[in-house]
Symmetry: C2
Subunit: 869 residues, 2 copies
């Protein structure tokens, strides 16, 4: 395998060439104008990361490709009249915008700068290029601090009485260039190299090195990108958008990335380089304006983007440069888009005949739906609220939170549970973690394609960018809008759909889930084989779940019902009982309440199955903890404080997660399980009597041994017989699988149980030996060290806990082939986990109501990717 | 299959006929004099337990066998001149002495009692038999309270002015019989049945019923006997040892059950029934006296016992009755024996040519060795101590503990960790649990074969019986010896080898392990394939382990070294450090101490492998808990109290078992693992330099993911390289398997690790979801309910945790076929667990030093029972 590929001459995919490199070659092959160049493959990065060395033949391969480039362009490195100038950019298989290093104008030196001046007819431009190159090279390649160059620049500007960069004269630039060279000499002990090949080798090394910088590492963590993927490096001939008024540069999307509207969308700046647009320093013009300004270039661009989308069959995000009237495409990739845009694009592309329904369903990342499913600002509240200012609607959604002025503070406060809005002049890749932590982002500068806007859309975080009224004072920890100061801790509200900024907290409302969304979901539902249910403990949540398409309730946690203010006293009576009789007396008071609980849920879920889990948590969770609360309970119950304290002491556990809970309660105090079984079955009978079809499934928690299950099942069956439920209600009795032993002995349990449901939270805790409450001390460190690719409480640890699940399913089906197996941990609404559940042959997943559509889509994609035999 | 078998006419084994029934038939077949009868099979008990009903044909089968018995003896039920009288006794496949019910003299009624009077020539004897039968029948079969009969007896004795039972006249007995009948009529509403067949059917039912009485249930729990085994019932013609001076009854052992000496051993009483000997009410004579008293009977007995041992090839425990000079054998079974006797008998029987070495090794229950391995009274201390009194040396060993006067108190105090000595007038089956809880047992009455003596020997508990100076006052909670009172809580010491009782606490010493023991163990070692190692944390324990035959150290817990008084301060410095530098400073102080720790162990274990585990427990375990201790530490370390409290608060965990511990410490604070690795390897190098061969194996705890192991292994390897240990020391790096995830992914871990060792304590905690510290709340209940056959922390839960172990081994060997796999949990010294470890193909087991011989013997038995292919 070669290490270096000339653009357009290889069919290798983006795993080898990186996204950028693969697409540049592809564009050339479909006839689009792309400056030539070559790609150094990702494998080189992997080898370099692992061994610290490059393949022996790399050097000669690079040189051969430089020669080929020189021949094709009839330009040469160091040629005093027609020098080759190149850019050196990273390009990983997965886009990591701005995370790694880039060097532009490489090939400039004291000689070639003169040629550039002559060819461009613009000496100042040429020396400014040279200055920029020295600064970039010094900073990125040689590792010198940015501030040293800034300092040299500022001191020279001051000496010359120049205020703005654009007002610097050629002489000033030449002085600065000398000062830059002095900085480099002083810091590295060596002269700045005039040899373009040396420059190139050093720049390539720097870009590969940047794969492992802190920023890139953090980005990969957040986006679940493996560290051993590696980046490619692209060396490409320079073209200039800043050669004067017939030059320009811009970025475009083949469709609107915020709304999905099928219309060329983008921004450009005349006489500018690409980073001027992206960095958000100058606010660019909408792409429509280009039609008037340069009709020919616009026509070419319009045709090019049509071709791009037709070829890639996906909305493209592309960069272009116009050099003296001639259009070049510098990059294309699938465009990041909002959830709304993703759904609309997918549905419309199906209708336009570009995609099949299957492809359309596969096109939308399930996690992204989260954006659609969450709240928007209440329109009524908006009309009454004061609009402080308006920026660009960079990423949709609504955000209400406390102001923070730095990424670090955002992270810190968010970790303490505060919802925050990050307010910055502009964001940079260093802010990544803070942006992730924030509810919303507000920037003073930058357009719809600025760093803040692109990243926020990717994250699904509400963002208002380019709100130029905003003046940030990071040191003071505040910002002003029109003279009014807003301090850290003040509340503001953002509307990402309109770009409006409000003071205080505005009310937010649920989104509408019809139109394209409904259509896409109906396609998804037709493909998926997994049932999707919801976890809901009350009629309201059940209603939300049903609205979101839940096909049943996969988990009703009865303990949540016990914390109700009027009930907790009765529950405590039950716990503090001295004997069975007292306990039964308290339980008798709970019975009618529980009957009503279950009837409420059954009515909402009429015709659909409802899994109700018996009491699970350790009893001490229901007892008061603080002195004042203990005293209150003692008074209310007319019991000495000491008795309550003794009972709390008595129920204290060293490891409550592994303690006296779950079915262990039912086995020790059968009367509790009896009461709950009676409540469930009575509720079901009453519903049936009212003509409501009820499918109750009673679930026994924390089973580890089949005999535990059998004992509790028989308690329930006896209750059913005693109250005459048999024949009147079709109920099932099943079990949670959350103890590793249960998974390992699932063949025995399946013989006795009607259904099984993985409790992957506890299964992860016991399987991995992590207490979720305590793992904070080390689990972050573990994910940083890539011990677990992702937090195993967020995404199923497929290699470990997942293996246990596979063993369980295999064993269970060996004795009861058709047993229904589901999952009701939080993993049930996480896309990779849903895919895993599909692959290992489960029947259904259950998650929180708001994640039901995500699970439906993820299940459909899993079914399309892994069809069952 | 038949339900009923006539003695001697069936080859069925004791699974079908029970131990007693099978042996009665066997004795008949080898020509020994046994009163005839028949056995109702265990299957009937199982059917009855499960369904509450008897097989339909049982009734007719019983009647047919009764007829056969009548014909053989030429006696008939209800025959006014020659009536058939029988006993009805339980007989399970496994001996459960005294746990189930027995009915004697069945067949007596108002008519047959007269015939018995006539035939025996002893009217008083006959009516006393009838009286006893009525009482037994009323109590056992009809379920009336014992006290009702006692009350009737006492009131009649009082009315007649009779003090002792033996002084009752025939008239008095007749009155009592009438009163007994009245009691039965009053309580049951029915007359006492005069029909022997009705009596028989009711008695059989009562015996089967007693299989499920509370006592029997508790006994089965303690002795790990399954509840679905069931008991047989034996119906046998009565013979009488109480027909006068040429009648008698006794029990014998073919060898001495305490010492193993090859000499007939036993006790008898003239003119007595069997239960008089067993119950310990009269103190019987040594069997040698019988030779003088009844030479012919003695000669028959001596010949019979020789035949018995020759036939059974094991020491026999038999019961006999002499009825008017004629010997009958009523029972034989393998004799319970002390460990010393078991070992001596096995070794001597091999030398006598009765057993092979394999059979001899299989003959000794491994757990019993515990008795030999534990302490004896220091002979010097004994000469200086005051002997309070002397009883019979009923069960060997020494016991020091606090006096308790009831079984309930014994159980209660033992549960609180107090070592107690149970002092009773005599024990009864009701006392079983208390006897089990006690360190030693002292009784005022009863011989070497009394209940207390038999049970204590079975349990391996030190027992002195028949110490007639002892006068118990249960109500006062004290006893007196020669006027001196000893209260509950006072300390006494027992010498089970001599029967001596001492005041206070005497020093105890280690046993000698030579002679027969050494010989048996050498045979065992030649058969076993499992290596046996010991868990030891210091040179002393290592020495003990080596003396007991350990072939290496399977677990050195380094954390125990950290609690040393002078070190704990340094450890706390380390924990309270604010940064790496401070932490390293504290660790530097620990390094030389740890080097000495390891050198000490290495020297003792020269030439043998030593596994040293890196620091495992959560750090908060090393911090003080009480206010005063915190204040002291603060003062010693010159740190504000608040800082320490903050740190304690900071390190607090909800579920410490699943918290920040094990390799998680090494990954977060690599400097701790570095210090320990340096100490281990430096100690090894220093030993090697002194010419001591050292085989260190460094063990990483709590690994769940292969990457955890690799990170810590690489830390250790780097240390080895840095200090120049490579090449100088042959060390290995392996891992504990205690997290279920590690077992499930053992294929990956085995690729990287040199060895593996199951930590089955934690594997059980995580696999079953039990916190050991908390399981007390429900685990007793679980064992009672037979959910787990035994406490899974005592014996490996083979069906669950064991499955995980099997999966682990299979996976590990799939990638590293020869990887050494051991166990170092407490299960490593438990016989059934050792057998399991052998069966699943492990390489070694490690246990506490005192259990090493048990593990060696268990491993040998496992190898004999399950030879490897």
């Amino acid at each position: 395998m070669a290490n270096v590929y000339f653009f357009g001459e290889s069919n290798e995919d983006k795993q080898v060439l990186g996204g950028k490199g693969a697409n540049l070659g592809e564009m050339i092959r479909i006839g689009l104008p792309v400056p030539p160049g070559f790609t150094i493959a990702t494998e080189v990065c992997r080898i370099f990361s692992k061994t610290g060395k490059y393949p022996a033949e790399l050097d000669s391969e690079i040189k051969a490709n430089v020669e080929k480039l020189e021949k094709q362009l009839n330009k040469r490195f160091s040629d005093p009249s027609n020098p080759l100038l190149v850019s050196v950019r990273s390009g990983a298989p997965v886009s990591m915008p701005g995370m790694m290093d880039t060097v532009l104008n490489l090939g400039l030196n004291d000689q070639t700068v003169k040629a550039l001046a002559e060819k461009s007819g613009n000496e100042k431009f040429a020396y400014d290029c040279y200055r920029r190159f020295l600064q970039m090279f010094g900073n990125v390649v040689l590792g010198l601090e940015h501030s040293k160059f800034e300092h040299a620049l500022e001191s020279e500007k001051k000496a010359q009485g120049v205020e703005l960069d654009k007002d610097m004269s050629t002489e000033t630039l030449k002085n600065i260039i000398q000062k830059y060279k002095d900085v480099i000499k002083a810091d590295t002990g060596k002269e700045f190299t005039q040899d373009p090949i040396e420059q190139l080798m050093a720049a390539i090394n720097a870009v590969f090195d940047s794969w492992n910088n802190k920023r890139a590492f953090a980005y990969r963590r957040l986006n679940h990108i493996p560290d051993d993927m590696g980046t490619a490096v692209n060396v490409q001939a320079m073209v200039y958008g800043n050669l004067g008024d017939t030059s320009g540069t811009g970025v475009g999307f083949t469709r609107n990335p915020a709304t999905g509207e099928n219309k060329l969308y983008g921004e450009y700046l005349m006489n500018a380089q690409g980073e001027d647009v992206v960095a958000g320093i100058r606010t660019p013009h909408p792409i429509e304006d280009l039609e008037k300004e340069m009709p020919k270039a616009y026509k070419d661009l319009f045709a090019a983007q049509l071709l791009l989308e037709k070829h890639y069959k996906d909305m493209q995000d592309f960069e272009f440069t116009i050099e003296e009237g001639v259009l070049y495409l510098l990059q294309t990739r699938n465009g990041k888009r909002t959830a709304q845009a993703a759904v609309r694009t997918a549905v419309e592309m199906q209708k336009e005949g570009i995609l099949s329904k299957e492809q359309a369903v596969l096109r939308v990342p399930p996690e992204q739906l989260d954006q659609l499913l969450h709240k928007q600002l209440d329109p009524v509240a908006k009309t009454e609220a004061e609009v402080l200012t308006k920026g660009l609607p960079a990423s949709p959604g609504a955000a209400v939170g406390e102001v923070v002025m730095t990424a670090a503070r955002a992270k810190e406060k968010a970790e303490h549970g505060t919802t925050v809005i990050l307010v910055r002049t502009e964001t940079s890749p260093e802010d990544i973690e803070g942006m992730h932590a924030a509810q919303g982002i507000l920037t003073a500068r930058g357009g719809m394609t600025s760093h803040a806007a692109v990243v926020a859309r990717g994250m699904g975080t509400c963002c208002v960018s380019g709100a130029s009224d905003v003046n940030c004072d990071e040191e003071a920890g505040s910002f002003t809008i029109k003279g009014q100061t807003y301090k850290e801790g003040d509340f503001i509200t953002l509307d990402g759909a309109t770009g409006e900024v409000f003071a205080g907290k505005l009310r937010v409302v649920e989104p509408e889930l019809s139109g394209d969304f409904a259509e896409l979901m109906s396609w998804a539902d037709s493909f998926r084989t997994l049932k999707v249910k919801a976890n809901a403990d009350n009629p309201h949540d059940s209603e939300v779940a049903r609205k979101f398409g839940a096909e049943g309730i996969g988990l009703t946690r009865t303990e949540h019902m016990f914390f109700d203010k009027e009930r907790i006293l009765v529950v405590r009576e039950m716990i503090l009982a001295h004997n069975v009789e007292e306990r039964k007396k308290a339980l008798a008071k709970l019975l009618p309440m529980q009957i009503q609980d279950f009837k409420g849920i059954f009515k909402v879920m009429a015709g659909l199955p409802v899994i109700i889990r018996l009491l699970d948590p350790p009893l001490h969770e229901f007892l008061p903890k603080e002195e004042v609360d203990i005293a209150e309970v003692a008074k209310e119950m007319d019991i000495p404080v000491k008795n309550i304290k003794d009972m709390i002491e008595n129920l204290h556990e060293f490891n409550p997660m592994l303690g006296f809970r779950g079915c262990r309660l039912a086995i020790t105090y059968p009367e509790i399980a009896e009461m709950q079984a009676e409540a469930i079955l009575t509720a079901a009978m009453e519903c049936e009597a009212e003509g409501i079809n009820v499918i109750p499934q009673i679930e026994v928690p924390l089973v580890g041994h089949v005999k535990e299950f059998v004992i509790v099942r028989d308690i329930i069956k006896k209750v059913a017989a005693d109250i005459g439920a048999d024949g009147k209600v079709k109920y099932e009795i099943g079990t949670m699988i959350e103890v590793p032993r249960a998974a390992i002995t699932a063949d025995e349990i399946a013989k006795e149980a009607d259904f099984m449901s993985f409790g992957t939270n506890d299964l992860t805790q016991m399987g991995c030996g992590f207490s979720r409450d305590d793992a904070g001390k080390f689990l972050g460190n573990y994910v940083d060290k890539a011990i677990y690719p992702r937090d195993p409480f967020q995404a199923i640890d497929q290699d470990g806990v997942g293996k246990l699940m596979e063993i369980c399913i295999e064993k269970a089906r060996s004795t009861k082939p058709n047993i229904e197996i589901g999952i009701c941990g939080e993993h049930g609404g996480e896309a990779t986990s849903v895919e895993f559940c599909h692959k290992i042959g489960m029947n259904d997943v259950s998650c929180s109501p708001f994640r039901v559509p995500i699970a439906r889509l993820a299940a459909a994609q899993a079914a399309l990717k892994y069809p069952k035999n």
